[in-house]
Symmetry: C2
Subunit: 93 residues, 2 copies
């Protein structure tokens, strides 16, 4: 199981994903899209990356944007799984 | 533009979609799935129905469930568009 990162390790890891926001025990980023179906296409790409990583983000789908939120529930906080997948998702957006 | 329904018309329309919850100016239903990708498959079916209706629900995707919420923003409330699409979505779930 992935280990929960210390506050110092989280601060360091956030530098890899400057577009993401750090919340209490999760990280999130909002991706904007002109069209609803472009957002849905993105949801599918995120889902494929999630399945590959066996780590599954929460998503909120609206007209114009998709919000992605990552946390490692088993570790009750943030782990490398979250930051690795966030970085992967950045390459899809 | 679709007209905002009266409280009485909403009460009547809710009978068509007994699994949905009525909120202040929206209706929502949570659909459960064993697997994340089953939820994603459902998101795609809802999105296709939304495009066909040119009416776009908000969705929340979690491991195990997808929440769908409908409202007609232009009318600042609920219209036939919402109830027609909800009924269509019920046939996909």
């Amino acid at each position: 199981m992935a280990e929960r990162l210390s506050p110092e390790a989280i601060e360091e890891a956030m530098k890899r994903i400057p577009e993401w926001e750090l919340e209490e025990s999760s990280i999130s980023r909002t991706f904007e899209f002109e069209e609803y179906m472009d957002g849905i296409g993105f949801v599918n790409k995120v889902a494929a990356a999630a399945e590959e990583a066996n780590h599954h983000p929460d998503m909120e789908v609206r007209y114009g944007w998709v919000d992605v939120s990552l946390s490692t529930h088993d570790a009750e906080g943030l782990t490398d799984l979250d930051f690795d997948l966030a970085q992967k998702i950045d390459s899809l957006g």
